[in-house]
């Protein structure tokens, strides 16, 4: 029984998370993340009215009520925003709070007459999943939420797969969608309809916090890892399911709320994505910046050596001199010097440091870039004493093609201070 209930809870959490993550990715991409939150609250009056009319907690009327109410919400938001000039975020806020409040009024006013209370509608509890069993033809076929969410998940998959290209173009460029005959408005309402449906199904099984979070967090995390829509959708679903598994496990250890733990894990996945994603991640950017400053320090050392070499071919520089020349922090310059030595661009003996053959070639290339840039700037009318600083900053980034273009632009023999510009080696 113990293992059994764990299985059902994890399955329920996974199905709910995956369903929300799949649709939520589109909401995130359309910059409508909070619409999931809004719809999840605004469907309450629809559920309440369905309860009152059908006088039961049957699934079908509840879904119909919620879906209609979700559609009404979307229509009202659109109407407020487009027809009556209310700001879009304000219209979302107005519509969902007002409808939610109406729902609360209906639920509390008629709670005595039908088997309905705020708790069960608003705060579904995933931990009760294993005991909410579905009896079919007298046989226990497993928990009801698993069946409901399973169906919803399959519907969502079908929805995204069959309308993938329509969803893509309508989300990216709705005017173009209309121009090629894809009804972007219809797609918008279909998406909102699916979001409403998913919301209701997930809300009553797993609770508000899980639903609202899963519409936003997995999609936003996945977006950091890829720039392909298909990959992002798959990753979002994967992150949702992963959150459910790890979250359940953590909730077990801490004896805490399962839904809370699942969402916390989703948040942690987002944080890790933010730190470690290869292109946009904080770590990747820090690493690139560190690599660049080591590179710049190396360039400065090579330039210091080659300038000495120009005057005296047998000159040896001291280690301290080179570290100074890098004009960056001590740690970075030591790293840079070590890497120069390792790649055999510089050599040292008892008298000090000098350029190796490869280092000399690279240093002359840098010196050429530096002086070409100085000459170019002075050609633009900058005074001689103002061209060194900019050239110092730009020299590291001048590739072969730009160097060739610069060479064609300026007189290649002398820089503004009358120093010789080294010849190009190609």
């Amino acid at each position: 029984m113990e293992l059994d209930s764990a299985f059902w809870i994890i399955l329920t959490g996974s199905l709910a998370s995956a369903s929300c993550a799949l649709l939520g990715t589109f909401l995130v991409l359309r910059k409508m993340s909070l619409l999931g939150d809004a719809l999840s609250h605004a469907v309450l009056p629809g559920i309440a009215i369905a309860f009152l009319l059908s006088d039961s907690r049957a699934i079908i009327p509840m879904f119909v009520g919620a879906a209609l109410c979700g559609l009404l919400t979307t229509l009202l938001i659109e109407a407020f925003h487009r027809k009556w000039n209310v700001q879009e975020d304000a219209s979302i806020g107005i519509v969902f709070t007002a409808l939610f409040a109406l729902g609360v009024v209906l639920v509390t006013a008629y709670a005595g007459q039908v088997d309905l209370d705020q708790e069960c509608v608003l705060y579904g509890e995933i931990a009760y999943t294993p005991w909410d069993t579905l009896i079919w033809n007298g046989v226990d076929v497993g928990p009801r939420p698993v069946w409901i969410l399973g169906v919803v998940f399959i519907l969502n998959i079908l929805f995204v797969c069959t309308l993938y290209k329509e969803l893509k173009i309508a989300s990216f460029d709705s005017a173009m969608a209309m121009a090629v005959g894809v009804n972007a408005t219809l797609i918008h309402y279909l998406l909102m309809g699916m979001v409403s449906l998913t919301t209701v199904a997930a809300f009553e099984s797993v609770g508000a916090i899980l639903v609202v979070a899963m519409f936003i967090v997995p999609g936003a995390s996945a977006y950091l890892w890829s720039d392909r829509l298909v990959t992002i959708l798959c990753l979002a679903v994967l992150f949702g399911v992963l959150s459910a598994w790890v979250g359940y496990w953590i909730a077990g250890i801490w004896d805490s709320s399962i839904a809370g733990a699942i969402v916390t894990v989703a948040g942690a996945i987002f944080l890790l994505s933010l730190l470690f994603s290869p292109n946009q991640g904080v770590i990747a950017r820090l690493w690139q910046r560190a690599a660049l400053s080591v590179q710049v320090a190396q360039d400065h050392m090579l330039l210091a050596l080659v300038r000495r070499f120009e005057v005296d071919e047998t000159h040896r520089s001291s280690r301290e001199e080179l570290l100074q020349a890098a004009s960056v922090s001590h740690l970075v310059s030591r790293l840079a010097l070590r890497s120069l030595e390792k790649s055999r661009l510089v050599v040292h003996d008892s008298q000090g440091w000098a350029l190796a053959a490869g280092g000399k070639q690279e240093a002359l290339r840098l010196l050429r870039n530096h002086r070409l840039w100085e000459t170019y700037l002075s050609g633009l009318g900058l005074p001689e004493n103002r061209v060194h600083g900019p050239a110092d900053a730009v020299e590291h980034f001048i590739g072969r093609q730009l160097a060739a273009e610069l060479g064609a632009e300026v007189d290649q023999s002398m820089d503004p201070q009358g120093k010789r510009i080294p010849l190009s080696d190609d």
């Binding site: 991409l29 173009i169 990216f172």
Partner: protein
């Protein structure tokens, strides 16, 4: 072959009849009434707020008309949708959207693909060819935010080419692009015209109007003049289009808007 600038009796690709457009009840474009002949390269010019983009959007049914109608080859737009290729303004989309250049161009084929189906290998071939035509073949797999403004504009143009249309509507394709891209775009427009296509281009640079376009529509909340460039692109018409505000029209529009709001 007949003179495309002065057509005789062929069905015009675009007929606009008495079309008025209003935003929030305030008219922004009044009583447009004109026929665009086949096989011409048309520049739509006029000051900011003159209704240039509004006009092409209204022709394509992207915004509702307050009155009047548009016919494409003598048929309603709905039946002729696939005859029109569209290049929207570059700022109208989110360039951080996770698609690459080829994906965007492939969107131009969606109208031919139809609902619920996937683009075929033929569609992919056409998309790749279109990218090639605008000189962007090597960037096919590049995420669109990593393209320069000029390259993004070329991708949009390639997408319109992939639509394989008879009429093209382009909303400021030259805005914010470098000289090389402008040249490349105009070369393609000229090639399209030589294939008998009709092209309408919202344009800002008055210097290049006579060089680029054989027809102009001069707008300022109404059609000031429309016709062959050498006939209507005159100092007098320019003065009417750009000189001063059309106070009567904008005052009337404002009055209508105020009235509807019940002031």
């Amino acid at each position: 072959m007949s003179d495309p600038v002065h057509p005789t009796e062929a069905v015009p690709p675009i007929q606009i009849h008495d079309m008025t457009i209003a935003y929030h009840k305030k008219p922004v474009l009044w009583d447009v009434d004109l026929d665009v002949p086949e096989g011409v390269l048309v520049g739509i010019i006029g000051p900011n707020g003159a209704g240039k983009s509004t006009m092409i959007k209204a022709v394509m049914d992207l915004i509702p008309k307050a009155s009047g109608w548009v016919k494409i080859y003598d048929r309603p737009y709905d039946q002729m949708r696939s005859a029109i290729g569209y290049v929207p303004q570059r700022e109208s989309v989110d360039w951080d959207f996770p698609v690459n250049a080829l994906d965007v161009v492939l969107m131009g084929r969606y109208g031919h693909v139809g609902w619920l189906r996937r683009p075929s290998s033929e569609d992919r071939r056409i998309a790749a060819e279109s990218l090639e035509k605008v000189g962007m073949a090597e960037f096919a797999q590049r995420q669109i935010s990593q393209l320069s403004g000029g390259q993004q504009q070329r991708v949009f143009l390639a997408r319109a080419l992939a639509q394989d249309a008879r009429i093209y509507m382009m909303d400021e394709p030259f805005a914010g692009v470098d000289a090389a891209t402008e040249r490349a775009i105009i070369d393609i427009l000229i090639e399209l015209r030589s294939q008998g296509k009709t092209i309408l281009v919202v344009h800002h640079d008055l210097q290049t109007v006579t060089a680029y376009f054989d027809w102009v529509i001069m707008l300022n909340m109404r059609v000031v003049a429309a016709g062959p460039t050498n006939e209507v692109f005159t100092d007098e018409n320019l003065q009417k289009t750009y000189g001063g505000r059309l106070t009567v029209l904008s005052q009337a529009a404002q009055a209508m808007a105020d009235h509807r709001r019940g002031n």
